[in-house]
């Protein structure tokens, strides 16, 4: 943990590298998520990459900056929202198609390799899973960062 009185986080070099790398990491996570139906990847790896970007910010700058970017209430909303979006798409499949989680959009979005607008509901489900995984892993990281064992007043253990 950072010593008291100083700025939170790591040294200046780490902060600058984080500032440069952070957008690239987030864009890569979104790319992995959105092209999950065309190339290797998908919702789960994309979500974990997004969470890793948040972890980098937490480690380099301390928890406050990451909290400003995504407060825990917002993270829990994204978490529940991803789950509800997944169930909602499944229910739409039950209404318009044959059964629960049926790929009801595949008539309108025919499959073409290397075409982003294809594969029906699969990209939407990928987005829902990425939201869920990123928000929940970010929440766990933040809770573990806040959690100081045996109280920090007691010093080292």
């Amino acid at each position: 943990m950072a010593p008291k009185g100083k700025e939170a986080g790591m040294s200046l070099i780490v902060k600058e590298v984080t500032r440069l790398l952070e957008p690239a990491i987030f864009i890569f996570g979104v790319y992995i998520t959105l092209t999950g139906h065309l190339t290797p990847g998908g919702g789960f790896p994309g979500g974990v990459i997004l969470a890793c970007g948040f972890v980098l910010v937490v480690l380099a700058y301390g928890g406050e900056r990451a909290f400003r970017r995504l407060p825990p209430e917002g993270a829990s909303k994204y978490d529940s929202g991803g789950a509800i979006l997944f169930l909602f798409i499944g229910a739409l499949g039950a209404i318009f198609g044959g059964g629960f989680l049926y790929n009801f959009l595949r008539v309108y979005l025919p499959g073409e390799p290397f075409h982003l607008k294809s594969a029906g509901t699969i990209p939407l489900l990928n987005i829902a899973i990425a939201m869920k995984v990123a928000a929940s892993l970010f929440l766990v990281v933040m809770v573990l960062t806040l959690f100081k064992p045996w109280g920090e007043e007691g010093g080292e253990r």
Binding site: P40, P45, F147, E152
Partner: protein, 185 residues
């Protein structure tokens, strides 16, 4: 094939180091080496999806474990040496090797796709029909989110429940720690 064997021996060596080292930090770093070697093996046998997921999850877990073990002196658990334990372990290990030898004679050669051995196997059906039935070019995503979407829903439920439990437990401890009144460990 040679690269696979090299990485397998690397993984086994790293696992032995992780078991035998007296320092907790070295054990954690060796576990990370095991995970990264496993992901490289997945890349070589043609499973890039699993390789990506393994690498990313390994990074996240490794950061957590190093953060936990970095500044704390965690003693390794070393019980007294017992001859009975050693004999029992060797017996169970020998039984496992004997059973595995019987099974290994029946297995197809390493790296050969099992689905090509069986006529009209489900995996062949998924590979052939995934583009026509689900319109997704990536067959793995087609299986995960269309043919077996129920499994993905269950996985998401498991993550959701686990995260809720972790957040509840740890938040309570934070609140208690702030009060300063906490009985010993």
């Amino acid at each position: 094939m040679l690269t696979l064997y090299i990485f397998m021996f690397f993984i086994i060596a790293a696992a032995l180091v992780a078991v035998e080292t007296p320092h907790a930090l070295s054990a954690v770093v060796s576990l990370g080496a095991v995970g990264f070697g496993l992901s490289i093996i997945c890349l070589f046998i043609g499973a890039p999806d699993i390789a990506i997921t393994l690498v990313v999850v390994e990074i996240l877990v490794l950061i957590h474990m190093i953060r936990v073990t970095l500044k704390r002196d965690i003693p390794t658990i070393m019980g007294p040496f017992s001859r009975l334990n050693v004999i029992a372990t060797m017996l169970i290990f020998g039984l496992g090797v004997a059973f595995f030898y019987q099974v290994a004679l029946e297995l197809p050669p390493f790296g050969k796709a099992v689905m090509t051995l069986i006529e009209n196997s489900p995996s062949i059906y998924y590979l052939k029909e995934s583009l026509g039935q689900t319109e997704a070019a990536n067959a793995i995503t087609a299986v995960l989110l269309d043919f077996r979407a129920y499994d993905t829903l269950g996985e998401a439920t498991v993550i959701f429940t686990a995260i809720i439990g972790a957040v509840m437990l740890l938040q309570r401890r934070v609140r208690k720690g702030k009060g300063g009144e906490r009985n010993g460990p």
